[in-house]
Each structure stands twice: as structure tokens, then as C-alpha cells.
Symmetry: none
Subunit: 198 residues, 4 copies
Amino acid sequence: MRRRLKPDARRLEILVAAEKLLKRHGTAVRVDDVVAEARAAKGTFYTYFATWDDLLEAIRARKIAELEAAAAPILAFGPATDWRKVLPALAALLIDFITASGGLHEALFHSAFTRNRPEPPHKRLAARLAQIVKAGMAAGAYAKLDPEPTGVLISAVIHETADAILAGADRARSQAALDHLLHRLVFADSPTEQGRLS
Amino acid sequence: MRRRLKPDARRLEILVAAEKLLKRHGTAVRVDDVVAEARAAKGTFYTYFATWDDLLEAIRARKIAELEAAAAPILAFGPATDWRKVLPALAALLIDFITASGGLHEALFHSAFTRNRPEPPHKRLAARLAQIVKAGMAAGAYAKLDPEPTGVLISAVIHETADAILAGADRARSQAALDHLLHRLVFADSPTEQGRLS
Amino acid sequence: MRRRLKPDARRLEILVAAEKLLKRHGTAVRVDDVVAEARAAKGTFYTYFATWDDLLEAIRARKIAELEAAAAPILAFGPATDWRKVLPALAALLIDFITASGGLHEALFHSAFTRNRPEPPHKRLAARLAQIVKAGMAAGAYAKLDPEPTGVLISAVIHETADAILAGADRARSQAALDHLLHRLVFADSPTEQGRLS
Amino acid sequence: MRRRLKPDARRLEILVAAEKLLKRHGTAVRVDDVVAEARAAKGTFYTYFATWDDLLEAIRARKIAELEAAAAPILAFGPATDWRKVLPALAALLIDFITASGGLHEALFHSAFTRNRPEPPHKRLAARLAQIVKAGMAAGAYAKLDPEPTGVLISAVIHETADAILAGADRARSQAALDHLLHRLVFADSPTEQGRLS
DNA sequence: AATGAATGAGGTTTCATTCAT
DNA sequence: TATGAATGAAACCTCATTCAT
């Protein structure tokens, strides 16, 4: 049964099918599974993606683009920016994103693929966070920090909080602890109370 | 060429051979490589380890035991404990440990194995760190924190700092940023200056 | 981008494109490569050639026709024919031809195609050479020989000399040895000296 | 159904099975066919031969060794050597050999394998024939010839005669014509009569 | 307990040919 | 007649695990 589609449509079908399966089954997904889900023949897959890793790369690019679009409003800094909200808002966004990705996140960021095809450094989350830290410092809102390693740390805590929630941790508590940490890290004032304990 | 050894000795030889190779070559190591290194036959491997993942589990247990032994002095809390040094000392220890593990760390903590055989929750680093946080709070040294999610966060930043150093980041800067974060997180006082920037 | 051409013109474009690529890349050429070179669509290929082997057959026919045209003057026997020159001239022509064909020769004469589609016997070079031998004998110029197997032998030595030259052998020496062999084979007189050794 | 054999025996079984199938079906034989014939599992094949071409290389080495053994008596030159018989005897031997090899000859000497894994030059038949020509010249038996290209020519005619016979040509006539050519080529005397025509 | 030959499911990729438009 | 997206049958190779000796 031959289904003729415009290349972009067919490519998208494969991409979407793969995303769906990867969310559910993570690294266990194979080319065979994807073409079955996309109602395409095996060879069709290779018309659009030269290798399996090329598919993952395309999905990663899509997800990052989605994420950047969603984050843009938060990152449009100006005089009216409420710096107290920037990192918590971003963290919430990322946690939603990762949480919604299920096993896809694993396949893209904790697998052989991650080693074979590392992201270009400037696209990595840690680098973006370092830029935000710099901007906050420049705006006089954040304390003095070393942006690059601090970006790495912020990336780590957000990431791990998302993973913990995926693994079953209580979301409210996890996120409260995260927000507290972020606040303490970047602001010079006295400590905030942690929600759950107060 | 048959070499009869006491079972435990033979088991240990395999374990040590595997550790050595995993450090050097990470997830690329195969059963064949291990038995060659251990000068044992392939079947012998399966006398001691039912599956490859069981070997990894045994190695993980060994590494964790080593780590606990090394951490014991730091964690022997008493009236004389200098709480300012506990987390930095522990972080330094862990970073040394992970850094020295090379590809073994990847194989144990960022691979399919990690998903197939999650550690029992009470053995996880995050749980230990939660206990420390509790102890610090009980001793009146730490600020009020939610121990469990905070343990997760501390674990994440230490872990990630080690990974960044393994991947080539500057150790002094990374560790300074980490220490700063840990200090800000658990102490209620005014901010410390970050080493590299001061 | 649809280009309507007279059928024969389109067919010729494909043929010429294939020849060009086969010369350069031999058996590694694919249908995709040919249509790209001919600026035609893949399906168009199959409008003109039912299978890949049919293309090769068409090319083979073309090459043989070219060759026959080039050989015609040499083979126009008459009272004025210098029989000493017939075989060397033909050999030189063939060697030029094969040498100039590069990988095309391999694709046509040393590949699966050769086995799948043997040439009709009467078209084969060996058969033509047998005819020449017969003519030479009839003219009283050549010694008594068994034309058919001798045609096979002459074909073999010319062919192999060309292959050797393609593979890097010294052309002058190879051709001198060939001419010497051909002379000794068909003439009854005393041996010639071989150029390179004299 | 597991059949445990000594490695040499199993390797030989695979080799023999492959030879048998290659004789019958030439380049159409696949790994699957060989293991079926050898009553082995697919993986077993790769225990003994890293790639398909390695199998062919092993078979080629075997065949060449067989051939050298069979040719040794003919090539043990001494004062008693009858130089008139050397080349015809060798030719007869080779023709028998090639004829008996069927499609194996094609797979080893006229296929992609031949291009991927060319024989070391000194092992090639043409080189051996060049040595024989030299020896014959040194013994004063052969006329003056250029050994290397002449070796190529002799190899070609023997080879082609065998192929022609495989393809259905009359063996007696083919071999008579070959012997005549070889005689005329290497000896300075007047022509011999060709058997079939005399 | 030790050995190592044997297994075979599983995975990726290629490419001549087909056929809906 | 032309197009080019779609097909799917091969084909090769890996490697954790089994089991006869």
C-alpha cells in the first residue's frame, strides 16, 4: 500500500512517529518500530535520514527550537524585567518540557547518541544560562558570580529536578527546593524560607 | 591453560580487569575484552556473573563501598565537626573519585545499565546527602532546608561538576563555583565571594 | 523541472552520462548517479532501459559499433593488404580503445553483467579475429592455423595486454611483446627480435 | 543442535562447504548459504572468518597451494628437463584445475573480490611464468624474450583457453591451438603443424 | 570449576525497481 | 512522456549468552 506524500509531510510523519515512540520507550526504539508507526517502508526512512543518529539530531534540533521559542518571552530582558522571576520561570518551563518528553529526553541527552553527536557548545543549555547570569549581573540584579561554571550548575539542578520528578518525586517540593537554591545562589540578600517547611 | 584459583580470587580478577578496561574505554568494553584481560575463559565469566549487568552491579557496589570508606572520616559528626568544611570536603572527595574513574563512571551512571538497574534508593548519594543536611540542621549549623530534594540538588551539582571537569573544564574555577553554591545554599549568612573573581 | 526532449535525444543523454561515469568509477556507478548526471528523473531511466543491464547492453553495442567503424579500414582486405601490419594495427587500436575506456571496460567485460548477458557469439571479438585468421590463410600470408581457437587466443592476449597497461604496466614493452607473439603465431618465418631486448 | 568440533575441523568444514557451493554457483553464494551447507550457525562463520572476503582469501590461498604442489614436479628444472614439455604440461595442469573449479574460479579471479584483495604480485601466475621463461632462456632452450610481459601473455592464453573450455569449447582443439602458440612463442625453430588441421 | 566453540536474534544500511501523480 | 517518492528484499556483521566437554 503506497502512500505518496510531499517530502516535508512524509519527513514530518516519521519525525512525529519517532518522537511519540521515543517518549514512551526511550532508547529501546528501533528503525523498524518507527516505520511501522509512521506507516512507511523501511527504505523510506533512509530516504529522509541517512542514519539513525541523523534522525535523533533532527529531533533534538526541533525540541531545542521549540524550547527557545517558549523561553523567548522570559529571556527578553529590559528595564521592566523582574529578575526574581527569571530563573524560576525558566526552570518551570524546562521542567515541564523534560517531564513531558519522557524517554525522549533519555534518548537525546543520556545515550550513546549524546556521545556520538555532542551539541555544538554554544547551543548547550549551560551556555545559555551563563549568558543569563551575565545579564543579571550586568543589570545589577545578581550577585557577583563566575558565569560559565555557574551556568553548568544551574543547568544541572534544573535537569536533575526534572529527572527526579520524572522518576516519581513530588513536584511541588522538588521545585520549591530548586527555587530556593536558585534564589540563594544569585541574590545577595538573606535567605528565603522554603515553602514546604515554613 | 587452566588456572585453578579460589573462587573469590578468580571473581576478583575479573572484577579488577573489568574496572581497568571500563575506566579506559567506557561503554565500549565487551565480555570478550574482560575475559582476555583477566586471562579467563568466556564461560568462566558467567560462573561468577549471571549477566553483564550483574558485573556492573558488583563494580558499582565496590565503588560505593570504597567511597563510603573514604567519606567516613568526613561524616563522623560530633561536637568538633566544622560544618563549613563538610560539604566542600565531600565534594572534593567525590570529584576526585569520579575524575579518577574515567569511562567507568559513564558505564555505571550514564548508560543503559543505569536504567536497567537503578540503585536501591537508600544507597543513592542523594539520600546520603539528605541525611547530612538533616544532621547539619539538627546541629544548628545549617539553615532550614527540605532535606530530600536538597540532597538531590547537592548530588546533582557535585556530579555535574565532576563530569564537566572530566570533559575538560577548568577544575579550580568549577570547584570554586561549586563551593560557593554549596555555601550559599546551606548557610544563612551573607554571600561569600567567589574565589576566581575576588 | 521537466525537460521534454525527443525520445532518442533523451535516451542518448542517459547513455552518454552513464558512459562518462562508468569510465571514471567503474562498477561503483548506480542508477541514481546516472540520472543525476543526465539531469533526468529516476523513473525516466526506466522509460528507456528496462533494467540496468539493458543500459550496459546498449553501451556495449555502441562501443562495439565504434570499434568496428574504427577497425574497418584495417579490415578492408584486398590485394594491397600488408598482412604483416594487420594484427599489430588491430591490437594497437584495441589497446587504445580499452585504455581510453577506464572503468567502463571493467563494468562491461569483467563484472556480473558479463555473466548475465554474454555477447551473442558471432559478435565477439574472438569470432572476428577467427575470420581475419581465415582471410590471412586464404591470402596465403598466414601459416596454417585452426581459426576459431586461435581467434580466442589472439583476443585473449590483446585484451590482457590492455588490462596490464591499464593496471600500470609499461606500454612500449607490453606491446612489443604482444606484437612479437602475434608475428610468431601467424607467420611461418624465423623469429623476430623483440624490441626491448635487441 | 550444537555440534562441537575442533576449530581446525570446523574451519575446514566451512571452507569445504564454501568451495563446493562456489564451484556450483559462483558469485551468487552468500554467507547464509555457506553456513546452511556447513550445518553451522551464522555467527560461527564469523568466528572463523572476520569478513566474507577473508573466506575467499583463505580459499584462494588453499587453491594456490594445491596448484603449486601439483606443479612442483614440472617446475623442478635440471639438466634432464625436457623444455618442449614444460609449458604444455603446465598449461594442461592449469586447464584441468580451472575447469574443475567451475564458478569458484570466477568468484576468486573475476569479481569484486579480485579488486578488493589483489594477490601479492609475486604470487601471481604471470610472475611465475616470467620466471619459467627466464629459466628456459638461461638454459639455452628458449628464444630471446622479454620475460615479464611474456609471462602476462602466457598466463592470458592459458587462462582464456580454460575459460573457453568451461564455456563449452572443444577441449582438444583449444588445447592444440594453445600448445601451438606456446611452441611458436618460445622456440626459434620452424612452425609445428597444428594437430586438428594436419 | 573451567573452558571456549557455538549460537542466533537483532540491528543497520543499500539500491534496483515500481507506480501514483 | 516524465517525475521522484516509495518500496522491501537482501546482505553483512555483532555480541551476550549457552552448553558440551
